[in-house]
């Protein structure tokens, strides 16, 4: 055969080699795809779609527009100076009067987020508007409910005209729109989230720190002991892992409470006086202690798997070259265990930052984290927009941390096993 370089290479059947290769690879690709397809669908339905829904919900403000469509149309013409015109009062009057009780209930909840008072105003107005037969409506409405004459209520509607809003996000960091759509801080007694955010990070950081301090020596021992001892030790580390989270948490409640095991022992051994018992339960201390214990395996396992791969000759070589054991550890062993340290810290921090059940049970009032507020708004106040924005901020924080970590340490340095 005398082939020139420009001609495509053919198989013995005369089909171009590339086509033939693709054909034979296609089957493998389809098979690979089919193998992962169930999981892919599962993750899509239970994970990616809910997250997308959550992100949408955190800025979604459409619902209010479907209840008062005409009012908002007329509202756009208002110059925000002095009370609105008769026309705006009139459309508002009819849309309140004719709306379903359910719709107006939901809308009034939303309106209450931008100015408290809206909810009761609408509730009362809906009842009183029944008596008003014909216009002009402005005076009659103000007569029925004085608040209709308060310009602040009308101004508060302004932030709801857009079908999207940043209001929930502002809310999640103790900010809000004032009636002129300016961003201002929440009233002092309503500022709760910034404080909670700081607390959440503090607790997560402390848990991560203590896990590292406690987990590192154990992992080192696990990695260096002969197999028969290290297996036993490994079981001791994993045993709590196999016990129910609730059981462990409740066990800690027994241990740490005022009349609990630990305080009793300390009093009995005269370390502390009976009236000076430590307050170890229902505060941040309790959250840190219990979460450290619960998350410890997540630190130990990646550390162990990395340390297992560090040959013992590194330490020997360092000693042989004249480094004291401490120096050898610091300069040779520790740098080689960094992938394990960073994997463990990332894992523990990320799990800790969104933790819910432990702070709920042992945190008391002082130990509540962001997760607890999300649960509270999800179940009690039904303010899902705020839930979504709190969740989205958590997600963003983790993404930023991950990005920063990748910049500083490099993600290829992470090693879970």
């Amino acid at each position: 055969m005398n082939q020139t370089a420009s001609e495509p290479i053919l198989t013995t059947d005369g089909i171009p080699l590339k086509v033939s290769l693709q054909k034979s690879e296609r089957k493998n690709k389809i098979r690979a795809f089919l193998l992962v397809a169930p999981l892919l669908v599962f993750i899509l339905v239970t994970f990616l779609i809910p997250i997308a829904d959550m992100l949408v919900r955190s800025i979604d403000d459409r619902q209010i527009n479907t209840v008062f469509p005409k009012t908002f149309e007329v509202y756009k013409k208002w110059d925000q100076q002095g009370l609105p015109s008769e026309e705006l009062y009139e459309t508002m009057f009819f849309e309140v009067k004719n709306s379903e009780g359910y719709d107006i209930g939901k809308a009034s909840t939303r309106m209450n987020y931008s100015k408290s008072g809206w909810k009761s105003l609408l509730k009362k107005s809906k009842r009183k508007f029944k008596k008003i037969e014909e216009g002009p409506y402005k005076e009659q409405m103000i007569a029925a409910e004085k608040r209709w004459g308060d310009i602040d209520y009308w101004k508060a509607l302004g932030v709801m005209v857009d079908p999207t809003t940043m209001g929930y996000y502002l809310n999640a960091v103790d900010l809000k729109f004032d009636s002129n759509k300016e961003i201002i801080r929440q009233k002092e007694n309503r500022r709760i989230y910034n404080h909670t955010w700081i607390k959440t990070f503090k607790i997560s950081f402390l848990v991560m720190f203590f896990c590292l301090i406690l987990g590192y020596p154990i992992s080192y021992l696990l990695a260096t002991l002969p197999l028969k001892y290290s297996n036993l030790l490994m079981i001791c580390v994993l045993l709590p892992f196999w016990t129910s989270l609730l059981v462990r948490t409740v066990a800690w409640m027994v241990m740490l409470q005022q009349k609990g095991v630990l305080n009793n022992l300390l009093v009995m051994s005269h370390v502390i006086a009976d009236e000076n018992r430590f307050q170890l339960m229902y505060n941040q201390t309790a959250v840190v202690i219990v979460m450290t214990q619960i998350l410890l395996p997540f630190m130990v396992l990646p550390l162990y798997s990395v340390m297992k791969t560090i040959p013992p000759t590194y330490m020997r070589a360092a000693l042989n070259l004249g480094a004291s054991p401490l120096h050898a550890f610091w300069k040779v062993y520790m740098p080689n265990s960094v992938p394990g340290i960073s994997a463990g810290c990332m894992l523990v921090f990320i799990i800790a930052i969104g933790y819910y059940i432990t702070p709920e049970l042992v945190g008391g009032k002082d130990g509540q984290m962001v997760g607890n507020w999300i649960a509270y708004h999800l179940k009690t106040t039904l303010n899902w927009g705020l839930c979504a924005s709190l969740g989205a901020i958590l997600l963003a924080v983790m993404t930023v941390l991950y990005w920063a970590y990748n910049k500083i340490v490099g993600i290829e340095n992470i090693k879970l096993g």
Binding site: T313, Y314, R316, L319, N320, L321, G322, A323, H327, N336
Partner: protein, 363 residues
């Protein structure tokens, strides 16, 4: 060798890990300054344990080790000032080659310019000047090996230990490195203790070889003596190829003796490791010392043998014959006119000198 010129001295050293088995038994060795001593032996013979005791990573269970006259049992490894090349090099993967070499110097708090100079010199010695800023994992096995060697030498230790340093290299590179290590040793005249299970490596590089087996030194002497004059059956069999004929001592006459095989052949041999008439003995004989169909009458031993197998190896023909009750007897026949005539199944005459056959202990 008197103890006056011993630089390293093992004095009745024992080592046990479990309190039941001694991995090193009553070890006594003197190593003079500047010597290249190789510890050779099969795995589990105690050679590596001995090296680790010298480095300070294992503590002797009994006895004492002296370095330059000082008892070092209680001195931790990082204060011994001994360089070491590890089996898998143990280069620190998170440091560049330069940083690896600078490590022992920084620990010793040398000045920056001094460190730079010494690192450069050490890299020059192993011909890797251009690789200082590379990471160890970016180097080939042979280059890593050289860096490990340079690191063990850069702080000018009194003694260098090498624990099977060439084990991970391929054959050609290994041979090349053997010469390089030998030359570096000759250049700087440092004392080296080298551990290997490869006899060629030991024969190539060493001033003396200590053959280990079963926790004991079987023989310690220069390579040629070890090969020519093994003192017991283990050494004879472990170093080089070796024919063994079993029998009992029939008579002793000064330095010579006669060993009688079961079939009644009488082999005149050197009396090396047998004591009295009637002792069971293994007669050891190097294949290249046996002549086939020789007409020379100066050979004291001469027996009829049957050719069992011929293996063509280019420059010589490896001939397996049955003689004196041993059918695994090997003779190396040079590929000359004589060798070409051999046929399997043929009867031949084997002859050798009494001084080449050594009556050793029975194994």
């Amino acid at each position: 060798m008197g103890s006056s010129d011993s630089f390293v001295k093992f004095d009745k050293v024992d080592k046990s890990y479990d309190g039941e088995i001694l991995v090193v038994k009553d070890l006594n060795v003197d190593i003079p300054k500047g010597e290249f001593l190789t510890m050779l032996g099969p795995s589990g013979s105690g050679k590596t344990t001995t090296l680790m005791m010298l480095a300070g990573f294992e503590t002797p269970t009994g006895g004492e080790i002296y370095l330059d006259g000082e008892a070092i049992n209680k001195i931790p490894p990082y204060k011994r000032g001994i360089g070491m090349v590890f089996q898998n090099y143990a280069l620190f993967p998170h440091m560049t080659v330069n940083e690896n070499l600078a490590f022992p110097l920084e620990v010793r708090k040398l000045s920056k310019s001094n460190i730079e100079e010494k690192v450069k010199k050490a890299l020059g010695m192993v011909e890797l000047e251009a690789f200082g800023s590379r990471m160890p994992l970016q180097l080939s096995g042979g280059q890593q090996q050289r860096v490990a060697l340079a690191r063990a030498l850069v702080f000018e230790p009194r003694l260098v230990l090498m624990d099977e340093p060439l084990g991970a290299l391929d054959k050609k590179l290994r041979e090349q490195m053997q010469y390089e290590i030998k030359h570096i040793h000759e250049q700087i005249g440092i004392t080296v203790v080298y551990v290997t299970h490869d006899q060629n490596e030991a024969l190539t590089m060493s001033n003396r070889i200590a053959v280990f087996n079963d926790g004991k030194i079987q023989q310690i002497s220069s390579p040629d003596i070890l090969y020519e004059k093994p003192e017991n059956a283990f050494v004879a069999q472990f170093i080089g190829e070796n024919n063994q004929l079993k029998g009992k001592v029939k008579s002793i006459n000064g330095k010579m003796c006669v060993v009688k095989t079961e079939k009644g052949e009488e082999i005149k041999s050197l009396k090396v490791n047998v004591n009295s008439i009637g002792d069971a003995s293994t007669v050891s004989l190097r294949p290249e010392r046996v002549e086939i169909n020789s007409s020379d009458s100066s050979f004291e031993n001469s027996f009829e043998a049957k050719v069992k197998e011929l293996i063509y190896l280019g420059d010589h023909i490896r001939t397996r014959v049955e003689v004196c009750g041993n059918d695994q007897f090997i003779v190396k026949v040079p590929n000359s006119y004589k060798g070409a005539n051999l046929k399997e199944g043929a009867s031949v005459k084997l002859s050798w000198k009494a001084s080449d056959s050594r009556a050793l202990d029975l194994r």
